[in-house]
């Protein structure tokens, strides 16, 4: 923006920016290089780089913890939930944007209520309900509420997207004898691909990192997702610093890599719910 400006001023700005960016990234860098140190080095020289790279720390952390299993659980739960949220909410978003039926606006505003309801109020009834029907401590205990909680914002975003499409596309398709569902599936859905990407990113990150339900509704270690699994790992090994640093690095580095690859989509996806 302010491209003009004297050289000392420019240097000053770079110094400030580097300090700010350093504040945000240094803890992560520290985590990664600490994971390659011995416990003694971590303890005596918190700052310094590893004397010798202890890659074995990562191998040990992977073996001792159940990290592989947590990864599989997180991938499965996230992908199933996100797929179903996108499918169900795009159908509803389409109906709210383009179909006329009785009670449409009332139903839409009812969904919006879900945007401001904090999850805590749902925990106790869902816990007892899931206990009663016997799905507590199964994937279902997470997937079902994740789908439901993802709907309000997704429906809202899909609706505003469908509204931007010109209406004569639908008219043309109807004349060609397309059924209502065919119209949605074959014509509308491909047109809103950007919205699908936004929803997929927004929901994936939210569900991948979800903690409250994952903590309370799953107690079998074999079924835990990464956040709760990490906490369990910390509980077992919290005096074994190098292993905790390693487990943290193993689970966060892939996320950071994915973020740097899809940086544009992820930033716009995560801020989408707020900026519209």
């Amino acid at each position: 923006m302010y491209t003009r400006g004297s050289l000392p001023r420019k240097i000053g700005i770079y110094v400030i920016v580097l300090i700010m960016v350093g504040l945000m990234t240094y803890p992560l860098i520290w985590m990664i290089y600490s994971s390659l140190k011995t416990d003694r080095e971590i303890y005596l020289f918190p700052f310094s780089l590893p004397h010798e790279m202890q890659l074995d720390n990562w191998v040990q952390a992977w073996k001792l913890g159940n990290l592989g299993r947590y990864f599989i659980n997180s991938v499965f739960i996230t992908s199933v939930s996100v797929f179903l949220v996108a499918l169900i909410s795009s159908m509803a978003g389409y109906a709210f944007a383009r179909l006329t039926f009785k009670g449409r606006d009332f139903l839409f505003y009812t969904f919006l209520l879900g945007l401001i309801l904090p999850a805590q109020v749902l925990i106790i009834p869902l816990f007892t309900f899931f206990d009663k029907i016997g799905i507590l401590n199964t994937y279902f205990a997470l997937i079902l509420p994740y789908i439901a909680w993802g709907l309000p914002l997704s429906i809202y975003i899909f609706k505003s997207f469908f509204l931007t499409l010109p209406e004569d596309i639908a008219d043309a398709a109807k004349i060609d004898g397309c059924s209502l569902f065919g119209l949605y599936w074959r014509i509308m859905l491909p047109l809103i691909r950007p919205a699908l990407v936004t929803i997929a990113i927004l929901q994936s990150i939210g569900i991948w990192n979800e903690f409250l339900l994952a903590l309370l509704f799953i107690y079998d270690d074999e079924l835990k997702t990464i956040p709760v699994g990490l906490l369990a790992f910390y509980g077992y090994h919290n005096v074994n610093y190098k292993l905790v640093f390693s487990a943290l690095s193993i689970t966060t580095i892939p996320v950071i890599i994915v973020y740097f690859i899809f940086e544009k989509q992820i930033v716009s996806g995560l801020t989408a719910g707020v900026l519209d």
Binding site: M1, Y2, L122, I123, L126, L144, L212
Partner: protein, 297 residues
């Protein structure tokens, strides 16, 4: 689909688009929310039959000193996150909103903590704050501030601030991007005009930029309030209320009541209180935005 159309008629088919969403919404959101209100009038351990006790749970909430403390902590935490997340995020956006080389990369790096899980952030900062090998004390020692070093999370006078800083670290990037997007929408001509009038950088910021960012700041405040009342993971992984409930917030106390002490009815009443607070703030905000004039540049 032809089958559905003959079965339900042309009108009925439309509802098939809504029914799956509504079923999920009803079963996992609306009904549980209602049930929480219902349970809040009972004494109930989670097992056995709930006993109707009227508004006893609500009276108990007002007398519960730790709940009152957790409410105050919650308010302090929200004010703290507003200062750290929104303040730092806004400052960063103002500085990073330049077409200098590498600034695109710097914005991306600044945003990184947003994509991590709060649990990973909390556990990492447990180590940053560690009194023995934490990097924070190491930095302070190296710049001659040994007297300031301490067990950050164990010291009652700073524990809440220490947790708030972690929230700030994780979310400042989010607010930076919100303000950055808003700044991008401000037309350059406004700055050119101000510059021609001889306005300094500071004047341009306070007289041109900040007034135009007002709606973004109000929105950020609402996100801080609703997010702050439902925060949980960062507290649970770092202190879980310790020391002496100085970092107890409403959600941590609710979860303790519900799952450690089996006071399900009482915990339900506390969640209702929490929801009413969040809804009240949201409604005030929605009313405000409903009335606000759209700013035309």
């Amino acid at each position: 689909m032809a089958f559905w159309q003959t079965r339900f008629g042309r009108e009925g088919v439309k509802y098939l688009f809504i029914i799956p969403a509504f079923a999920f919404f009803l079963i996992f959101l609306l009904i549980p929310a209602m049930q929480s209100i219902y349970y809040s009038f009972f004494q109930w351990t989670g097992l056995g039959k709930p006993v109707w006790t009227g508004i006893t749970n609500y009276i108990r909430a007002f007398k519960d000193e730790i709940f009152r403390l957790s409410f105050i902590n919650n308010i302090l935490y929200i004010m703290g996150t507003f200062v750290v997340e929104v303040g730092f995020g806004l400052l960063a956006a103002l500085i990073l909103n330049r077409k200098y080389p590498l600034f695109g990369l710097f914005r991306v790096m600044f945003f990184t903590p947003v994509v991590l899980s709060m649990v990973a952030a909390g556990l990492l900062w447990n180590f940053v704050y560690d009194p023995n090998f934490g990097v924070l004390n190491a930095i302070l020692k190296s710049i001659g501030l040994s007297s300031v070093t301490r067990a950050w999370l164990g010291d009652p006078s700073v524990a809440l601030i220490a947790v708030t800083v972690v929230s700030g670290w994780k979310y400042a990037g989010f607010y930076m991007m919100i303000f950055y997007a808003a700044l991008q929408r401000i037309p350059q001509e406004l700055y050119e005009a101000a510059r021609l009038d001889g306005a300094s950088w500071w004047t341009r910021i306070t007289k041109v930029t900040l007034p135009l960012l007002r709606e973004s700041v109000v929105l950020s405040f609402l996100i801080c309030v609703t997010g702050g009342f439902s925060a949980f993971a960062v507290f649970y992984t770092m202190t879980n209320g310790q020391p002496y409930h100085r970092t107890e917030i409403m959600t941590t106390w609710i979860i303790k009541q519900a799952f450690d002490r089996n006071n399900m009815g009482y915990a339900a009443a506390l969640t209702v209180f929490l929801v009413v607070l969040v809804l009240a703030f949201s409604i005030v905000y929605l009313k405000r935005t409903g009335k606000k004039k759209v700013i035309e540049y």
